[in-house]
């Protein structure tokens, strides 16, 4: 955060950068002038500007490389950045290159125009004229000096001083001196009285003097004046030399200097002609490079700043497409792109809000559906819903419990298709299908069918479902297994009958029997033989019938009385074998398939023994010929609980459908003698032990009864 606070805005940085570039270029431009004080910094400025160009080139290269990498990775906004940068570079480079080319051309032509043959010749002529003038003056001075030397010949050292002094006024010389070849001053005279010593020749002059015998040249004198120095020997043996310094008039000196300066300057410019072109071209190139590279670098930065919101928008759009509606983009500017980003943020906020609302509504619906499913699943009644084409959409667990068809078999099926897989339910399913197709309103129907567990009675209620526009959208069928309820009602009714019989009928029977026996006892002695015998037959019949009625009433009482079981764990195989042993002499042929090992059940052995007796007696009484009884034992799993299934099959006359429906009801019998309570008591005992019993309708060779009892251990334990 601290960094961002002190960070300069991009525009300010760019302005500062361009300021530096312009300042550097201006300094270098000024440094090209020889007269400028900056000329001493020219090389440094050149190096600095070159380094600046290299740094900028590096920055541009890094940016270009980074852009190429982004292009290869297909990052968002990279193509737009490339297009804008390319366009900018093209638009900036083309005119700059044209300006540079023509500037260089004009520059070269301009420099070339400084030089021409006439000026060359004029400069040479001017110099030659100056040199001729000076040479002529020098020749005249040489001649004058020679004449002085002749006058000084053969003069003694003592007279030299006087002679030199006499020569000076007419000569116009600035200084006249005579010195020996060892450099000793013999005589001198000067126009300037303050100069005591003459200007003696230095080593270089002496060297030339010894080589050439004479010396004459223009020397720069004091105070920017020029002197013609002439040294010639006085004596033929060169033992003495005369040196005369002639001043050159100031005007001549100034003119000569001026001509020399112009000539030298022109010569120097001629020599620097190509260097000038190169130098100026180099500066122009640096200006172009610095300007272009700085502009391109700034273009990179600016375009990246411009494209940044677009790049963020692309990323944001991708995130929204991937389902991330929480995407909020930073608003970097208040321009059109900023407005676009703000609109995008508003859009994502609204989408997120809508998504949340939809999700909440979906969750609510899901909760409601789960709640309804829970209710349906825990209903004891089976519920099946159908669509408009009578395909089953949903079914609850109770439907499975009642119909013994897994829910997964229901869904997506029609009732017709279920009949093919579950033939035992075909009649019931077809009945429901007919009712569904016909009914336009709520309907209710009791449907009786023989299921896998015997006779079942369902109370079905159907409700067709309609849309608001009246179109039929399906139906719901709710059904309940009322078999046990109806059976319980019947049992209760028969129990009440038995209780009333015991109460209303059995009580008068004893006085009837006692009265008949008293009649027999009192009257048998008084009556004659015929009448006495008749009375005896009559009273015996009364007593026998009363006894029979008592037994019948006792049976009813037994049926109606609540059971008093002595429950214990026994081996059912042992119990069966005990019972069968009792029938060894009865002529019944038993065939049994009993498992090895024990089958432990928790039952009242007396009651179960009575069940077996009743079933075997029934088989024996239903068979006219040789009675055969087959006993099967198997283990079954029902509702995650283990049961032993005991089947007893005979070869008798069998049962018709009407008999099957009522066989377990009290006072239902096909035999001439019998109370019709045998199978009713059997069913009662089995149900009291938590089991079920039904007629095996699939067995056609006689009657078959199947009972199931909870089992604790089944076979192969010993």
């Amino acid at each position: 955060m601290a960094y961002s606070k002190i960070k300069l805005p991009a525009s300010v940085s760019i302005i500062i950068l361009f300021g530096f570039v312009l300042l550097s270029l201006q300094l270098m431009s000024s440094a090209t002038q020889e007269s400028s004080q900056l000329s001493e910094m020219y090389s440094w400025l050149l190096v600095i500007n070159t380094l600046g160009s290299i740094i900028l080139l590096g920055l541009v290269a890094v940016n270009a490389y980074s852009l190429v990498r982004e292009l290869k990775k297909k990052e968002a906004g990279s193509k737009l950045t490339t297009r804008m940068v390319s366009l900018f570079v093209l638009l900036a480079l083309a005119p700059a290159a044209i300006v540079f080319y023509f500037s260089v051309q004009f520059l070269h032509q301009g420099i070339d125009s400084w030089f021409n043959v006439e000026i060359d010749r004029a400069m040479d002529d001017a110099l030659e004229l100056s040199q001729s003038s000076l040479a002529q003056r020098m020749n005249w001075h040489i001649k004058q000096t020679r004449q002085m030397a002749e006058k000084l010949q053969d003069k003694s050292e003592s007279s030299l001083a006087l002679e030199v002094g006499s020569l000076w006024p007419d000569s116009g010389a600035a200084e006249i001196a005579v010195f020996s070849n060892q450099g000793h001053i013999l005589a001198s005279s000067s126009a300037n009285p303050s100069e005591i010593l003459p200007h003696l020749p230095d080593e270089q002059i002496w060297l030339q003097l010894r080589q050439n015998k004479e010396y004459f040249a223009y020397d720069p004198g004091d105070n920017d004046e020029m002197l013609a120095r002439i040294i010639i020997p006085i004596q033929s043996d060169r033992s003495r030399f005369l040196q005369v310094l002639y001043p050159v008039p100031v005007r001549v000196t100034d003119l000569a200097d001026s001509i020399e300066f112009a000539f030298i300057r022109y010569q120097e410019m001629t020599f620097l002609r190509d260097s000038l072109k190169t130098s100026f071209s180099l500066i122009l190139l640096l200006v172009l490079l610095l300007s272009m590279l700085a502009a391109i670098w700034v273009a990179f930065i600016s375009i990246r700043n411009i494209v940044a919101p677009v790049k963020e928008l692309v990323k944001g759009t991708q995130a929204v497409a991937d389902g991330d509606y929480q995407q909020q983009l930073p608003v970097m500017s208040q321009d059109d792109l900023g407005f676009l980003v703000e609109s995008f943020n508003q859009m994502t906020r609204r989408i997120a809000r809508s998504r949340d609302e939809t999700r909440a509504a979906g969750l609510e619906v899901e909760n409601q559906r789960a709640y309804l499913e829970t209710i349906l699943a825990n209903l004891t009644a089976g519920v099946i819903s159908f669509d408009a084409s009578f395909y089953i959409r949903t079914a609850n667990q109770a439907a499975y419990r009642i119909l013994h068809i897994p829910v997964s078999h229901f869904v997506g099926q029609t009732l017709q298709t279920l009949t093919t897989k579950h033939g035992e339910l075909a009649e019931m399913l077809n009945t429901i299908q007919r009712l569904l197709e016909k009914a336009d309103d709520i309907w209710e129907q009791r449907i009786v069918f023989l299921g896998p567990n015997g006779r079942q009675e369902l109370l079905c209620r159907g409700t067709p479902l309609y849309l608001q526009n009246g179109a039929r959208m399906g139906a719901v069928v709710v059904f309940d297994d009322v078999t046990d309820l109806i059976q319980a009602q019947k049992n209760a009714a028969w129990g009440e009958v038995a209780r009333r019989l015991a109460h209303e009928i059995k009580n008068p029977l004893t006085p009837i029997q006692l009265s008949a026996e008293r009649l027999q006892h009192k009257l048998s002695k008084e009556l004659q033989d015929g009448s006495a015998e008749f009375l005896q037959r009559g009273t015996r019949t009364i007593v026998q019938q009363v006894e029979a009625m008592k037994r019948m009433v006792d049976d009813f009482s037994e049926y109606a009385r609540p059971s008093k079981k002595q429950v214990e764990r026994i081996n059912l195989i042992d119990l069966i074998q005990e019972v069968l042993a009792l029938y060894m002499q009865s002529g019944i042929v038993f065939s049994s398939s009993l498992p090895t090992g024990r089958v432990i059940v928790e039952v009242d052995p007396v009651s179960i023994r009575q069940v077996l007796h009743n079933l075997i007696k029934n088989a024996q009484e239903a068979t006219t010929a040789q009675c055969r009884v087959e006993i099967k034992i198997a283990k079954v799993i029902r509702n995650n609980a283990a049961y032993v299934e005991l089947g007893i099959y005979d070869n008798g006359s069998g049962l018709n459908a009407e008999q099957i429906e009522t066989i377990f009801e009290p006072y239902v019998t096909s035999k001439a003698k019998g109370t019709g309570l045998g199978l009713a008591i059997v069913k009662k005992i089995v149900e009291e032990h938590g089991g079920v019993i039904w007629v095996d309708t699939s067995y056609n060779a006689g009657a078959g009864f199947v009972l199931q009892l909870p089992v604790f251990e089944f076979g192969n334990s010993e």
Binding site: A31, T32, Q33, E34, S39, E40, Y42, S43, L46, G58, A61, V62, Y65, L127, S130, Q131, L134, D202, Q204, Q208, A217, Y218, D219, P220, A256, D257, I259, E260, F263, I264, R265, Q267, E268, T270, F271, L272, S275, L276, T278, S279, F280, L282
Partner: protein, 187 residues
């Protein structure tokens, strides 16, 4: 940044290859023939002889009026483990210029005096010797220590006309400086 790194490596290799070639091409460099420390009772002075050479380009520039400048650098060094310490240092500047009108060569010596010469050789011979009272305190050098007298002449490109300067740094014709001449001194 592998491409930039490769570019840099290639550039460095080219520079390393070109550097010795440019040194070979620069056979116009001045040479210090000898240098010695002259001891007098009060002070030391330096005596040396330097051979100056002018390349054709430098000679042409001189003839066209371009002044040429050399700086003679003189140092007394005390060798150290890592680097030598400089006890005394001085710079003598010479400027050679041609006067077309007089057809003479002018040398401006370190003392500011000018000398005129009729020939270039005479001028260069004049420059070959040191013309300054290069004297320093006799107490500077202590007995029992080893010292070095280092001397070189350096062509001053920055005194050339501005357009010539960039070229002078790149063109071997302008490599007129000498190497350091080291003369051991044992006290």
């Amino acid at each position: 940044m592998p491409n930039l790194a490769n570019l840099f490596n290639h550039g460095l290799l080219i520079c390393l290859l070109i550097w010795p070639l440019s040194s070979l091409a620069g056979n116009f460099a001045a040479k210090v023939r000898y240098a010695e420390l002259v001891e007098s009772p009060e002070a030391y002075s330096v005596d040396a002889k330097i051979d100056y050479q002018l390349s054709p380009t430098a000679r042409e520039a001189l003839q066209k009026g371009v002044p040429l400048s050399w700086d003679v650098l003189i140092q007394i060094r005390q060798p150290g483990l890592l680097r030598n310490s400089v006890l005394y240092s001085t710079k003598l500047s010479y400027t050679l210029q041609f006067h077309a009108l007089l057809n003479q060569y002018e040398i401006k010596s370190p003392s500011g005096e000018t000398e005129m010469f009729l020939t270039l050789n005479a001028a260069l011979n004049y420059m070959a010797l040191l013309h300054d009272a290069t004297r320093f305190d006799i107490g500077l050098l202590k007995a029992g220590y080893g010292y070095q007298l280092a001397i070189k002449t350096e062509f001053n490109r920055e005194r050339l006309p501005v357009p010539l300067r960039p070229v002078a740094y790149l063109d071997a014709q302008w490599f007129l400086s000498s190497d350091w001449f080291i003369w051991p001194i044992q006290k």
